[in-house]
Structure formats: C-alpha cells, structure tokens
Symmetry: C2
Subunit: 504 residues, 2 copies
C-alpha cells in the first residue's frame, strides 16, 4: 500500500506546473513509477550557490516523492559540449573556450568540473542521479533525433548546419508564451545568414578545423546544438512522455521551449507532463551566476576563501538556508542571512536532539494521557500539507520548529506522548531523509573538529589521569575512566602506561 493513495495527511500533492501556469494535482503517468529529468550543469567551472539552489531544490522534491513511496528514476545530464557562451547559436563552446585557455583537452575540463560538481553536491547531501548521461556520450542518439526531425519536415540542413524550423512546430511557445514572431526578439540582430527565420535554432553545427570537439554526421563533421541533448537523453532514459522535467527558471526560454519543440515534433507525443522551475539566487538583487562573474563557489563557502565572505560555512547550513525559501522564490544571499540560518538550524537541532535523547517509557505510564497519540498524526499532517503544497520546504521547516517546541515542552512536563518512539522515528525521517539534513552539525566537513583532534584530546585526558593517579587523587582518575567508558573508550593500565581501545 502506498502512502500516496492512503495518505494520512490532510491534502494530496499539488505542484506548480510552468506549462499550465497553475498548481495542479500531481498524478503520475505510471504510478508508482515516476520519471524525472533535471537539467544538469555545464561543466566548465566550479559550482556556485545558484547551482546549489537548483540541485538542492530538486533533491528535496525527489526525496519527498520517495517518501510518498513513489519509485523515482532521477536523470540529470552533464553538458560537456554544445552550450555556447551567451546561450545562443553564435559564440564559442563554453568548455572548448576554457580548454583553450588552460591548454588541455576539453574532456579534461569536463572531467575536472564533473568531479568538483559531485564533490560539492555530496557535501550538500544531494543524492546522486540514478543516471547522469553526458552530452558527448549521446552523439548517435542526437544525430538520430535530428535526422528524424529533418525527415518529418521540422528541420532543414544547410551547408553542414541543421536548424529547427520553428514555424513548422505547432506547439512552439507553449511553455514560454512566446510566439514565433517574438521568439526572435531574444536573438542577436546579426544572426547566421543561413537560417530561414532568425528565431530558428541550431540542432547541429558545422565544425571548422580549429574546433576541438567534433563528430562525423550525415551533414558533415560538426557538433550538436545545446538543446538537442536534453530531448534525446530524457527520451532515451524516461520514454517519450514522462512525469517531471525540472531546471532553473533561466532555462525556461529558450532551452526548455526548444526541448519541447524537438521532442514533440519527433515523437508526436506530449513531452514532460509537469515542468518545474526553481528561481535564482541573488546578490544585492542581481542574479548570481558564473557567466555574470559575481558567483561565490560552493568550495569557497565551505572553506571561507572568497573575499566577500567573513568565514567558512558548513554545507548543512547552506542547505538549510536554501530550504528556508520556497524553490520558486528567489533566495537573496547575504552572510547575515546565513548567520541567521545557522542559528535557526542549531536551535532546531538542539530541540530535536532533546526529543530524540528521551527514552520512551512503558505505555502504561501514560494510560491517562488519552489525547497524546494524536501528536504524531498532527505533526505529520502539518509537515506533509506544507510539502504537498508544491514542496513548500519553508513551511515544512516552520512546522518542524513549532511542533518540536510543543513536544519538548510536554516531555519536560513529564507528559511524553504514548507514541513517542514512532514520533522519534518519523522525526528522523522527516529531517534526514526528506529534507536531507544531518542531525549533527559537527559531523560535517565544515566543522573544525577533526580526527587528529580526538586523538590529541584523548591523550591529554590520559595524561591528566596519570598525574591524578600519581597524586593519589583516585576520585578524579575514576571519573575520567568512567566518563570515557560512557564514550565507549576503555582504558587499560599496565606497567608500560595506559592503553586504550576505541569505540567500534
């Protein structure tokens, strides 16, 4: 039995669909299976806070769908070719440009920044995609789709380039609301002269001799346009019609509009059912982004090395900070806001800790406490109803604050709910599995506690105890031995000194 059909919460999941511009009841195509595709990074630079906003948002969406017992296949691509500087059809390939600057193979650039991307996402507790297909790894699939579009009359090849003919696409503009006339308003005045319509976009581009990344094709040696990879790879791994397509709001046009045009004209079927777009991170009201030059990388947040930062920040605090605003709202960054998030997170964790630490009593201790078994259902209902409202993590976190405070008060008053154990278990699931937050801040890499320090501190304690024993202060030496035993550290005294065994 699935939660999503037998939901104990007061509401069913609704999501804001950019395609219809309204909140809709979420009804998967083939429940319990959900196909979810999210536009991944272009791997030519370090991931920054804007990336974190997008991937933490979709991570929580995926986690919440799993919490509802859906079986999610989460596909998120790696763009390692075709994304041009300026996001249009003219200009250099972002990765080739970086490769030329650093005098290495473009694949070394892609390798480096794919690695750092996942390293940073791991630190933020973003779950790995089930499949993370690379654009360069799907050239045949892209060529097949382009040929299909030509055969069906939606695209035309001219002098080694292939363009999508937007006037031929019946549904062009359905996502962005732009029609064929004003679609071209975003393009440069000096557009490539071989296009029939300035708003037509490239499916395949001819490569000259100097071009670093290129493949043979029916239209000559070249490389794919930026948009075709996502249509080809999402369909390959999720089918022609799938549940959720996600990405940053800046990709709604032209990228996602073009994806829909390509996919639907090729397959003749409706493409993604629900389109979800996260909003951006701003710094002083301006979008933060690598190409804008005002981005603080995640690594810089974690180690505090950016000049705009006063200190380093635990990845968990960054995650909590981002989840405190709704994914469709902008997140305005300042270090003050991060400080507030940290204080709030610590306070929440401390309240949760004081609930989790409490050992549930036998049921008969509370036989008069008839109303208490409503605590968990009520708590779940407020949390789920927030998440069911288009994944409102801000509300969900607020419900955690409110409810845990109330429960803590009850426990302090000696009135622990009779379903405390179930409540503790659910609380851990809501915090760690749905929101992806850790119960212990200091376990994360951002902390200044480390393993070497443990060893040094233990040696100091043993020294103090040795001195105490020499001074015949056995009370102190026993306290140290017993308190260490509580931490699963056993001391053994011998002629050679004190040895210890560590917790397993």
């Amino acid at each position: 039995m699935f939660n999503y059909v037998s939901s104990m919460s007061s509401s069913a999941l609704h999501v804001y669909n950019s395609l219809t511009r309204k909140k809709e009841l979420f009804e998967p195509i083939h429940a319990p299976h959900i196909g979810m595709y999210v536009c991944g990074p272009t791997v030519y630079g370090d991931a920054h806070l804007g990336h974190a906003k997008s991937y933490v948002s979709f991570d929580v969406i995926r986690r919440y769908l799993s919490y509802l017992d859906y079986k999610v296949r989460y596909v998120q691509n790696i763009t390692d070719v075709g994304h041009l500087v300026g996001d249009g059809d003219e200009g250099e390939d972002k990765i080739s440009k970086k490769a030329l600057i650093e005098r290495v193979d473009p694949m070394e650039i892609a390798e480096t920044y794919t690695y750092t991307y996942f390293r940073d996402m791991d630190a933020l507790s973003v779950l790995r995609p089930d499949i993370s297909p690379r654009a360069t790894g799907h050239i045949p699939e892209q060529i097949t789709m382009i040929q299909d579009l030509i055969d069906k009359g939606y695209a035309y090849a001219i002098d080694g380039n292939v363009y999508f003919d937007i006037q031929s696409a019946p549904n062009y503009g359905q996502l962005s609301g732009r029609n064929v006339e004003n679609a071209s308003s975003g393009t440069r005045i000096k557009s490539a002269s071989d296009k029939r319509n300035p708003a037509d976009f490239a499916l395949w581009k001819k490569a000259d001799d100097k071009h670093l990344m290129k493949w043979p094709s029916p239209w000559g040696v070249g490389y794919p346009g930026w948009h075709i990879e996502c249509s080809a790879m999402s369909i390959k791994y999720l089918g022609a019609h799938f549940d959720i397509h996600g990405g940053g709001i800046e990709n709604q046009f032209p990228h996602h509009e073009c994806e829909i045009a390509q996919a639907e004209c090729s397959t003749g079927k409706s493409f993604a059912k629900y389109w979800l777009h996260n909003n951006m991170v701003t710094l002083d009201g301006q979008k933060m982004g690598k190409s804008l030059g005002n981005a603080i990388s995640l690594e810089q947040f974690f180690n505090g090395s950016h000049p705009l930062l006063q200190r380093s920040w635990d990845p968990q605090v960054i995650r909590f900070f981002l989840l405190q605003s709704h994914y469709r709202s902008t997140t305005d960054f300042s270090e003050k806001a991060l400080e507030a998030a940290e204080a709030g997170f610590q306070s929440l964790l401390s309240t949760i800790e004081s609930i989790l630490i409490y050992k549930p009593q036998n049921r008969h201790d509370h036989k008069n406490d008839v109303n208490n078994n409503k605590v968990l259902p009520n708590f779940k209902a407020t949390f789920e109803s927030a998440m069911n409202d288009d994944f409102n993590t801000a509300q969900a976190i607020a419900s955690l604050f409110d409810n845990t405070k109330k429960i803590k008060k009850k426990i302090t008053a000696g009135q622990s709910p009779s379903d405390l154990l179930a409540l503790q278990n659910w609380l851990k699931i809501a915090l760690t599995e749905v929101l992806g937050l850790e119960t212990n801040l200091s376990n994360k890499s951002g902390s200044n506690f480390n393993n070497k320090l443990s060893e040094d501190l233990l040696h100091l304690l043993i020294d103090i105890r040795t001195k105490a024993r020499m001074d015949r202060e056995f009370e102190l030496s026993d306290i140290i031995r017993d308190r260490l035993k509580d931490l699963d550290i056993e001391l053994k005294d011998s002629k050679e000194g004190t040895r210890y065994t560590l917790p397993k």
Copy 2:
C-alpha cells in the same frame, strides 16, 4: 630544468616492457609530456582487492613520473558496454546481465558502480584520471575505426557482425607471443559460425530486439566489441603513438593483443611504446576476482563486513600492503599479512613523525658536522634508485624504513643533519606525493576517531576543569587550559560557564 635530465639519483628510470619482455631505459616520445592509458573497470560490481592492486600500482607509477617533473596525461576508461561474461565474443554483456537481474536500466548499473569505484579509489588515495572516457560515450569513434579497418582490408562485415581478420594483421601476437594458429586455442570450440577464422574477434555485434544497449551503425543496429573501445579512446585522447599502456596481466591476451592489432592496422603507426602489466592478487594461491566469486570488496575491507575478515581495515593500510610487493609480483592476501603491514606502517609513521616533529636548529649549531649534508642526497638516491628500477615500491619502502631509522638515531644523539629542513620536506613528498600515503593513519575513514568524539572529549575536559576550579585546584585547571591552548583551543570563562573557540 627537469629532474629527469638532471637527475641527482644514481640511475635513470627503467621500466619492464611486456612488449619486448625486458627492462628498458624509459625515453618518452615527447618529453616532458607523457601519455598514459590504463584499462579501467567494467562497472557491474563492487571494486575488490584485485582492482586496488592494479589502480594503486598505476597511481604510484603516474605519481613517480610527476615527481620526475614529467607532465602526465593519465587516461583510464570506464567499460560500460561490450565486455561479455567470459571475456570472449559469445555470452551476455556483463552490465546488461546485471541490469536484467536488478530490473533497471543498464546505465543505472554503470552509474552506481562508477560511483562506488571512484569512492573506493578516493579512499585509497588513488588520484582521479585526467580523462575517464566511457565506452558508451564513444560509439561514433569506435564506428569510425571499425569502418576504417574494413576499408583497409583488416576486417569484414557479415550479417550485421563485424570481425577483425587476424590473419591480415602483420603484427598479431607481438605482445602475447601467440601466433594466429594458437590464438584460437583460448576460444571456445563452438565459435560463431560466421567467422572466417575461429580466432577472429568481434569489432561490432548485431543486437537482437531483446538486447538492452544498442546503436545504429553502417552494419545495422548493434553494439561494439569489448576491445575496440580502448583502441579508439586511447588514440582519441593520446594520439596514435603514445608512451605507456597499462593494465592487469589477465588483459594481456586477448584484450591488449587485440587493441594493438586494431590500432596499428588502422593508423599504420606503432601503438603504445611501453606496455606495463600488474600482476594479480591471490587468495590461497587462486586469483581473486569478481567473476571467480572469491573477491572481498574494498568496501568490505573498509568496514570489516566480509565473513572472511576478522575486522575492518584502514584504506591506507590496504595501500601500504599492496605497495609492499612489486606491481609485477603477485600479492597473496591474508589477514595476517595485512596485520603485519599495519604494524610496519605504524612503525614507519612513528619514526617519520619523530623526524618531522623535530625543529631544525640554526646552521651554525652544526658547523662541525661536515658530513651531514650528504644525508638527503644519499636518502634520495636509494629511494629513487629503487623507483627507477621499474617502480620497485617494495625496495623504496625498505629504503624509507632504513634511512628514517638512521636519521632518527642521529637526531636522538643530538647530531641533526644540517639540511634537516630540506630532508623533512623531501620525506613528506616521498611519502605523501609519490607513494600516496598519509602521515597520519587516524585521519582516514577507517579510523574509529571521529568528529563527534572530539566534541565529547572536549566537553569532558571542560567538565573536569570546572570541577577543579570549584575545588580550588588551580594547578589542574591551568594545565588543562594551557594544554588546550597548545591544540589551538581557547577557553573563556564567564558567569554562564566555559565557552571555547576551536582551531581554524
């Protein structure tokens, strides 16, 4: 100026070349650049000790070449299609088979085990490849090479399959020593009936409807044979003729023999100049390998969960254990041998620690100590001469043991070498940068020290100090404050209790 031309060591680098079956002076094709290709994992299961032996070996080789100031481009592939059960031309694709069992897309299998592979290699301090190309990501390159081989008369297409005609290859057998007649002795008696010669091997295989991974090609829908990916990808990223090709000895035939045949017949040039093969890991004298069913995964070593293991093992101990035998020797695994390696490693680290902790005196303290400035050159010479002898890590580690013991004795006798600072720096480089070992065992994930423990131990120390202050035992409270200050932890007492600031 490069070390490799102005070497202070007594010897120049020699490597055992499987192609010529002898040790040869190492002379790169385009110094200081070195192209190095190593056969990577087939990602359908957890990495085991056999993988660790191979990738730790080539990691040290790469690191030593960098130490000699070469600029190494290290390419190591991910095999995610084409490697059939049984390593031949018949049988199921290893990844498709696993995907069918687990009822997921083959790319989910590849994604999962690519992730765990790199996670385990990271734990072993194996550096990431500069490029880790995937076989499925290079279908066009493989098709181009196959077509080229057909065009040049070295391959033939028949009914959707393409085979390499080994009788047409002038150099077939140069690596393995097998000739065309006995090359077929390793193949099954019931070989595919459409081959001209039973020893001919598949470049492209026809896929039936049930086959999960397939692509269009000039010969119909199918998938590449196992060998072609390495020829196509090594040439793409390193050029037709490059310096080093490495891999496990079990891949010498047929895999590497076939790689050479494909590459040289296609390009008309000599393929890799030096072929390096690591030997295998045995368990009771038998090869350890996933397909043999006797493999302990690296994760199981790290967490001690395999029934054959008594306990968990620090990844650094595994690395040290492997480096204690030469890469061309077999490593016979037993937990006793690991215990011995651990004891040896701890003893080496403790000796090194006692050298590194020593603060170099002013030079004039040692003006009479005329011979001492030979300590570093001598130490370097023995270490480098071991490594120059075909990367003899066993010898190199022995030289670390011997020389650090000698130096430690001198320091204890108050005769520290006048070049102590340089010696300390070099020692750190030899240990951490060349051998890839950490100076502190307890910093690794295998350790039972952790961050939460640091916090608990610090709180215990503060409690003891608070009690001491209440008991007016100021000597003890000052000792604790001062010793913590040595660890960069500052205590601040206030009415609310004791607060602390942690090391940065």
